[in-house]
Structures are given as C-alpha cells and as structure tokens.
C-alpha cells in the first residue's frame, strides 16, 4: 500500500512538473512565438539608423514602401513581395499600375519628409526625386541600390564626395540626351575643380539657402565659373562629334541664360528640351 501511495505521489509530481513546464512556456511567450507579426506601415516606426548617403537612401526607400503599403492597406513586406514573381506569398488585390503609382508616390512623400526633417538637403532631394520618378519600378525594388547608382551616375563615379579634378569614366549612350548629361557632369566637375570645392559643396552653393557654413566663393564668381565650364564642355563635345552643331548652338544659348539650379538634376530639363528638338 505504501508503494502505491508513493507511486501516486510520484504521478502527482509528474503532473505538477508538466503544469510547471506549460506555465513557463506561456510566461515566456510561447503562444506568440513564430507569429511573425510585421509592423503596421501606417504607424510611425523608428527611422533606419545611421548617417551618410547609404542610410539616407535606405530611410527614403523604407519610408516609401511604408507609405505605399499604408495607402493600399497592406504590409510593407506583402507590398514588396507582390512585385516578386513566385515569392510564395499571397498576392495583394491591386493591379501592377496601382502598385507602381503607390510606390512612386510613397517614395516621393518619403523624400519630401526626409527633406523636411533635414535628413537630406535640396540637392539630394532633387536627385532622389528624379530617380524615384524615372527609374523602372523593378529597379526601385531591387533595393534602392539603383537609386544610389542613379545618383552616383549623375554625379560621377564617386558620388557627391568624389574628387572633381579626377577624370571620370562616364557611361556612354547614343543621342543628344546622354551627351547633354555628360556635358553637364563634366562642367560641374570642371567648375568644382577650378574653385577647389567638392561636388557637394558646389551643388549646395548653387542652391540658395543650402550652403553649409560660410561660402568659400561669392555667388557671382560661382555663376561665372560654372557657365564658363559649361561652354567649354559644349565646345569639347562638339569637337569630339558627340553633339550635333545645331544642338551645340542651342546649348550655348542656354548655358548663358538657364538658371543654374536646372543643372543639378544632371541637365534633365535641358535633355528633355533638346530631345524634343532632335
């Protein structure tokens, strides 16, 4: 009988141990483990940490994805994977055009927010807006790397902080548009080099209210230097035969009159204007 009672006590202890294990698991969050909740894109979340251009780009892209997902009432992750064929995730109920529009709008809002917060200056905002508006959507989704690439391409091999006096191999491309882009890039490099500025400093100095600290040069000197560099670049391009004569004539006229701020997007407005003519 004593053995039977001892066995019964042992059974009760085992049952108590089982209850204790379950209690510990519940207390440690067992029911929620693996739930895989993703954040609500409409709720503000801590910004992506870090400084520098890379972190800025990531903040802009992540904010853009949040904005688009919030607008379409889905999650950032579902929205992103909806562009990936055979991702294995349930598709969201929006057609491709709607998703693309939401993505571009979300990213543009994110750029504006970043500018407002002071994360980026107007030069960077302009470049990013350009990329957001023009890059194919798959390039945007391939991870913003292309945003960075696009900005780098516009500014030269090493981006904003590269040495403008070092010659840069710029990607080719036929036609007036790419030629104008190369002319503008080369002119900005030439002017920056001549003034002893980095590209970033030169571009900031072209934007009223964006200078960091005391300007090294007065605005008139900068204007003169940039326009002069622009004319030199146009002459060189015409000599190389990469720019038709008629286009060179028009560009020279524009070089003396166009607001220099218009050069900051890689001469896109000039390119657009000339593309219509040639």
């Amino acid at each position: 009988m004593r053995g039977r009672v001892a066995a019964l006590v042992a059974l009760v202890l085992l049952l108590a141990a089982a209850a204790a294990l379950l209690a510990v698991e519940l207390a440690k969050g067992g029911p929620g483990y693996g739930e895989g909740k993703v954040a609500d894109p409409c709720e503000p979340r801590p910004p992506f940490p870090g400084s520098g251009f890379d972190a800025t780009i990531q903040r802009v892209v992540l904010g853009g994805l949040d904005g688009a997902a919030c607008e379409l009432d889905t999650t950032r992750e579902e929205f992103l994977l909806s562009f990936v064929p055979a991702s294995g995730v349930e598709p969201i109920p929006w057609d491709e055009a709607t998703r693309e529009r939401a993505l571009r709008a979300g990213m543009q809002r994110s750029v504006d927010d970043a500018l407002e917060r002071g994360d980026i200056n107007r030069v960077e905002a302009l470049l990013l807006s350009e990329a957001v508006a023009r890059l194919p959507v798959d390039a945007l989704l391939r991870g913003a790397l292309d945003l960075k690439d696009a900005a780098t391409e516009t500014l030269g091999g090493e981006g904003l902080d590269g040495d403008p006096c070092q010659p840069v191999e710029r990607p080719g491309g036929e036609g007036v548009g790419p030629a104008v882009q190369r002319i503008v890039q080369s002119a900005l490099d030439g002017a920056a080099c001549e003034l002893g500025l980095t590209r970033r400093e030169l571009m900031l100095s072209l934007m009223p209210g964006e200078q960091e600290g005391e300007p090294a040069w007065d605005p008139a000197t900068i204007q003169r230097t940039v326009r002069s560099a622009l004319r030199r670049s146009i002459d060189e391009a015409e000599e190389r035969g990469s720019l038709p004569r008629r286009a060179a004539v028009i560009l020279r006229g524009l070089a003396d009159t166009v607001p220099l701020e218009a050069l900051l997007d890689g001469g896109q407005r000039l390119r657009d204007a000339l593309d219509g003519l040639f």
Partner: protein, 467 residues
C-alpha cells in the same frame, strides 16, 4: 554419488534456464525492433530524400507502408491465430522480416525500398502475433512472457527514432536495416528453444469486445505518439537543423523517461496510471505546441513528458487489451493491429494538416525574413546581394526546411562583420520560429488524441469492477 548426480542435474537445469533466458532475450529484442520499425527511419528521412531524389510524399511511404501492412495483417490474423502453429507462424514471420531487412539495406531505388518495407511489415505482423506465447514458453510462465512482450513493445516504440538516428549518423541509413538482420537471426534461434508453445486451439471464454477499452486507449495513445515520435523528430532534425545523432540525443529523453517511470507504472492502479499517463502525454505534446523558442532544452523536457506518459499509459491499456479470457494470442494480435492502426490514422490525419500549416508558415517566414532584411543594419552593397541570394535559397529549400543561409552571409563577411552575422542570426531565428509554429496545430491535435485516452482509462476501472 546421488548428491553428485543431483548437483550435476541442477547445473544442467541451471544452464538450460540461462540458455532459455538468452533465447527469450533475443526474441524480445526482435519484438522491440519490430515495434521500433514503425518510427525507426524517421531520422533517416532527410538522407533517404537525398539518396533517392524523390518527393516527401514518396519518402513518407517508407514509414506509412510498414505500419499499414502491420495493422491490416495483424487484424486479418485475429480469427486465424488460434488455428495455426504459432511456432511456425513466428518462424515464417522472422524469416520474412530478416530477408526484407537485408532487402531494404540493398534497395537501389525508392520503389524497391517501399516494396520490401511492405514485406518487412508482413513479417513483423506474423512474428509479433506468434511471439507472445513463445516468450511465455521460454520464460516458463505465460504471465512473464506477456509482461516481457508488452515491455519490449513499449520500449521499442519509444526507442525507434533515437536508435535510427544514431545508426544513420554513425554509418548510413542502410545501417538501420543491416542492424536488424542479426537481431532477427538470433530471434529465429530463439524459436528453436520454445517447445510445445503452439497454442493452436487456445480456449477463450470471453469476446474480443471485452478488450475494447484497452484497445481504444492504445489506439489514441499510439495515434498521439505520432506527434512525439514523428513530428517532434522532424522538428528537431529538419527545422532546427540538428544532426541525426544530436537529434537522437534530444529525442532519447522520451525512451529514458519511459524506462524511468516503470516502477511507478507497476505500483499504480491501472485506471489512474493510464489516465495520468494520457494526461502527461497530452501535456508533453501541448508543451511542444507552445515552445517559446527553438530550444533543445524545452523540446527534451516536453519529449520526456511524452515518454513518461507513454510509459504510464501503455502498460495498463496493453494489459487490458491482452487477456487470457479473450484469448491471449488472439487479443495480443488484435492489439498489435489497433496500435498500428492508431499510428496510420494519425499519420493520415496529421500529414495534410502539417503540410497545410507549413505552407502558411513558409509564407509567414517569407514576410518576416523580408522584414529582417529590410530593417537589417547593413549597407546596401551587402544587403542587396544577400536579398537576391536568399530568394534562390528559399526556392531550393524543401517544405518545412530552414534554408542554409551560411554561404551567402559568409560571402558578405559574416565571419568578421558583426552586423552581417547579426542579420544572419536574426533571419535564421525568425524563419525557425515561423516554421516551428507551423507544427503547432499538429501537436495540439496529437495532444487531443492523447487526452481522449484519459476518459477511456475509466473503462479500465469498470473492467476491474466487473472482474
């Protein structure tokens, strides 16, 4: 002189008894192996999958096929076992089992392996049915033989995955079957020592229906064991990525607990023992369902509860299912069929449930993995190549498997860059968590099966009162 003769005679009797005990041990070991075969290849499934380049469904038949044949043949044998020579039935079964074990070890393709496993199941059903009275004959008492047979069956069921895991890791999946051949050979020798053991024409006063409560309990308990023996093992090996031998170490908590609770089981009232065991088994499975982390400690504790539940619930249910009144051999054969039927039906119930849940878990893992990569504190130059490489790895991973993330993260400097290593660890953790959660409902259904055995235990109380 008479005294010397008597002493010599005693010595001869003693030697004979030792020999019979050894033969009984060989036969009991074979009984254990035949029960273990229900789950012994679970830890070898990933190796088989790779070796035969087949589907999960295809490879699952290596387990299911064996259990289906044992269940069907055992139940079909019930009306026949009292009319045939059990010695020859056992020998025929062992020869089939032995030949099929060698055939499994030599199988060159999946179809052959499954076909030979079916033959192995046939052999197992025949010799399991006949071996109970033979053990009684070798051990000199039917009661002792029955107790040994039941113990061998319980331990075999509990030990299967751990045994298979060790053999697979040390040698190869084929070693699982190679190792069974000599065990079967020794068991064949064991049948030679059993004389007059044929119970053909055994008399039974009661009906098989009287064993209903015990068999119903065994049906639920063995059904629930699918959760611990199959799903638990797959979780530890396939999802958490432990090697078969490390997995066997975790899973061995189950048979260890089964053995440890034997003194309790032998002293408790059968109904209390069975009910308590069923509740413990259910609690262990619920603990597996509610794991708060991919932790071997939690898993081992939960499996230990399952093992304790098995060790407490199976003996009283088995004793109730295997009675002299209903015909010892006949009722034992029926209970073999019922146990395996429980396994088969639970497999049929849980496999599609798990498959469905793992699909959902895979989707959840994709979303959480995407979140981890997006939020990972890495520069874009590392993040984008990782994201692109990972898509390929997700595509290549099998259902329920955590993709091997080491190579792409190593390529991005995980060995030297803490941030890269951190993202890799976060990613592995989040995928493991999602897929572990995918097992939850299957474990909970298994726990429900175990819980259903608890009220059935009250039937044992009723049987006791009737007697």
């Amino acid at each position: 002189m008479d005294a010397v003769g008597a002493t010599g005679e005693q010595a001869a009797v003693g030697r004979g008894r030792v020999l019979r005990w050894l033969l009984a041990a060989a036969l009991a070991t074979a009984v254990s192996v035949a029960f273990a075969d229900s789950s012994i290849v679970v830890l070898a499934l990933p190796d088989l999958y790779v070796a035969f380049r087949t589907s999960i469904q295809g490879i699952a038949w290596v387990i299911t096929g064996y259990n289906v044949v044992v269940a069907v043949v055992a139940i079909a044998l019930v009306p026949l076992v009292s009319r045939v020579s059990l010695v020859w039935l056992t020998r025929a079964g062992i020869v089939l089992f032995l030949g099929a074990s060698i055939g499994c070890a030599l199988a060159g393709d999946l179809t052959t392996l499954i076909a030979v496993r079916l033959v192995q199941g046939l052999g197992a059903a025949l010799f399991l049915a006949g071996s109970l009275p033979l053990l009684g004959s070798l051990l000199g008492s039917r009661g002792r033989g029955t107790a040994t047979w039941l113990l061998a069956g319980t331990l075999g069921a509990a030990l299967g995955p751990a045994l298979g895991g060790v053999l697979t890791e040390l040698f190869d999946w084929r070693a699982i079957f190679v190792a069974q051949a000599p065990v079967a050979g020794l068991a064949l020798l064991g049948t030679l020592g059993a004389h007059g053991a044929s119970l053909a024409g055994e008399r039974h006063e009661g009906r098989l229906r009287e064993t209903g409560w015990g068999n119903l309990g065994l049906f639920f308990v063995f059904g629930a064991l699918v959760g611990a023996l199959f799903l638990g093992v797959v979780l530890v090996i396939t999802v958490w990525g432990y090697s078969p031998i490390a997995g066997a170490g975790i899973v061995s908590a189950l048979p260890a607990a089964t053995i440890l609770v034997r003194p309790i089981a032998s002293r408790l009232w059968p109904a209390a023992c069975a009910a308590g065991g069923a509740v413990l088994l259910a609690a262990g499975l619920a603990a597996l369902a509610l794991l708060p982390a991919a932790s071997p400690v939690y898993a081992a504790l939960a499996l230990a509860l399952c093992g304790a539940g098995l060790g407490l619930a199976v003996p009283p249910f088995s004793a109730s299912a295997t009675t002299e009144r209903a015909g010892l051999v006949r009722s034992a054969t029926f209970s073999i069929g019922v146990r395996h039927l429980g396994l088969v039906l639970a497999l049929a119930l849980l496999a599609p449930l798990l498959s469905h849940d793992l699909d959902a878990a895979g989707q959840r893992a994709s979303l959480t993995a995407t979140a981890v990569v997006l939020d990972g504190e890495l520069p874009l130059t590392k993040k984008i190549p990782l994201a692109l490489d990972m898509r390929g790895l997700f595509d290549a991973a099998q259902q329920g498997e955590v993709p091997d993330l080491d190579a792409p993260f190593e390529a991005q400097g995980a060995a030297t860059d803490e941030r890269v290593a951190q993202v890799r660890d976060d990613l592995t953790g989040t995928i493991e968590a999602s897929i572990t959660r995918g097992f939850r409902w299957s474990f909970l259904v298994s726990a429900l099966l175990a819980l259903l055995a608890a009220p059935v235990a009250l039937g044992l109380l009723r049987r006791r009162e009737e007697r």
